[in-house]
Amino acid sequence: MELKFDNLTKEFGNFTAVDHLNLTMTKGVYGLLGVNGAGKTTLMRMLCTLLKPTEGRITCDGKDIFEMDGEYRKVLGYLPQDFGFYPEFTVKDYLLYISTLKGIPPAAARKRVKDMILKVGLSKAANKKMKKLSGGMKRRVGIAQAMLNNPKILVLDEPTAGLDPNERIRFRNLISELSEERLVLLSTHIVSDIEYIANEIWLMKDGKLMHKGRAEELIHSMEENVWECFVEKDLVSSFVKRYKISNMKSEMGGVTLRIISREKPFENAVQAEPTLEDVFLYYFGEKAGDGNGAV
């Protein structure tokens, strides 16, 4: 299966949310990284046929997805950022209801629902009402509903938002497991989620693709270095004004700073191994740090 964005553009009035994207996706996990308002959700909504492009098109194996209509949605699974559900339904009933919408016949739906409940670890909560579930459990129901039709294309918009660290790790592993034999597009602004499971990372800013590649490739694409230094507390504000600070750690008598800079920022600074979080700050620093470069 091959998905292709061909000169894809989406405008809302005078605002361009997605700006002339040309990309191709095949099997694997694609991580979409960008600050809020970068156009990630708009791109995903177009991929899910919720929004029509202003210009350009998306093709699936050469066919326009909007012309494919139900045929395309049959192979699509989607977990929206704001996952809505019917609170009075039990987990099982909700999944059976979504199976109906996905056109799965009742017998196959019952089996599939049972399998998915088991897969996402909700066996004990299968007969619980949706409104009684914790945030993590709801997200798991969300991924289960997206997987009901065994989709070839899985689109996950901020799937780990609001989850505690344990749940996030579980969720990441689950996505990784589900990503075999399908195309997964995962959007988040939690860098570590993408770092672990994405085969290819796309960095998006102002609707445009800034960079794409594997985590290591993106790290190497940085034209600045990462430094670590211990400074007195009084000096921190002057460093924040001058450099992009990716981390600050208060310690006895001072602060350890992680600085992104081409030159050595301080005499005692030691060069450190860059991470994807540093890459994120390097590309999106201004927005991420409210203008002062700090995260």
């Binding site: 605002f15 809505g84 996905k102 009742p106």
Partner: protein, 253 residues
């Protein structure tokens, strides 16, 4: 050796003791084969409609039925009071308001996005719900109008003007609000319906206005309401896939 003994021996020789494991394996494989063949099939639209019927909460139909019973009882108790007859419009508004929670369910629960990317589109989901509610409500209203007309002798013209016309206008308001691209709350629709109900009461209880509106005018208004209702229904179906066109990452622009 008698034939009987021979047969018994033969039966003993031919007796097969089934192995439990093999039976279970056969059952499992049959199940898998059945599941595999079912998975390739797609739910037909009438099956989809039937399953939608199972999902729709029947409590709203029960409440509609109770409302019509109460209205019938009130009309029976006040046969001679023409003002009470004219106040049927209030009940008509309530009758329509009762369908709002079920129709607005996917909007108020923010389940639109998940539903819209399914094999059966949002348009088909709304069409199914409209059809189900249409059938149920037409049945209830026919039953009510028929019984009131027969037992109380209320003329069809009166029912048309005092009950079905305000009902139709209320339905227009509801579906008009529902088809708005801006996600309006259920409360907005209910509020507009109640407002309309107040306006209607002012018109209908004012002898001067009521008596001056002639039958052709009522017929014209009734026809207009009906056309508007169909237009609103069409707009819901045509525009339901454009709900996301007004917002960017949840922010309306």
């Amino acid at each position: 050796m008698s034939l009987e003994k021979q047969l018994r021996d033969y039966k003993k020789i031919r007796e097969i003791s089934p192995r439990e494991n093999e039976i279970l394996e056969t059952v499992r494989k049959s199940g898998e084969a059945f599941f595999a063949s079912e998975q390739d099939k797609v739910l037909s639209y009438h099956e989809f409609l039937w399953l939608q019927l199972k999902v729709v909460r029947k409590r709203w139909w029960v409440l509609q039925l109770i409302l019509l019973f109460v209205l019938g009882g009130v009309l029976l108790a006040a046969q001679e009071d023409k003002y009470i007859q004219r106040s049927m419009g209030v009940a008509a508004t309530l009758f329509v308001i009762l369908i709002i929670p079920e129709f607005w369910k996917n909007r108020s629960c923010r389940a639109l996005e998940v539903e819209a990317v399914s094999f059966y589109s949002l348009r088909q989901i709304y069409a199914a719900r409209m059809m189900l509610f249409g059938i149920a409500d037409t049945f209830l209203l026919t039953l009510f109008c028929g019984s009131v007309s027969f037992s109380l002798g209320v003329a069809f013209k009166e029912l048309l003007v005092q009950f079905l016309f305000p009902l139709c206008v209320t339905a227009c308001i509801c579906f008009g609000t529902l088809c708005s691209r801006h996600i309006l709350q259920e409360a907005v629709a209910v509020g507009l319906c109640i407002l309309w109900s107040g306006v209607w009461l002012l018109i209908i209880l004012n002898e001067h206005i009521y008596t001056n509106i002639t039958l052709p005018v009522w017929a014209f208004l009734w026809g207009l309401a009906l056309v508007s209702l169909f237009a609103a229904l069409y707009r819901v179906l045509a525009g339901c896939n454009k709900y996301w066109e007004v917002s960017l990452d949840g922010i309306e622009i």
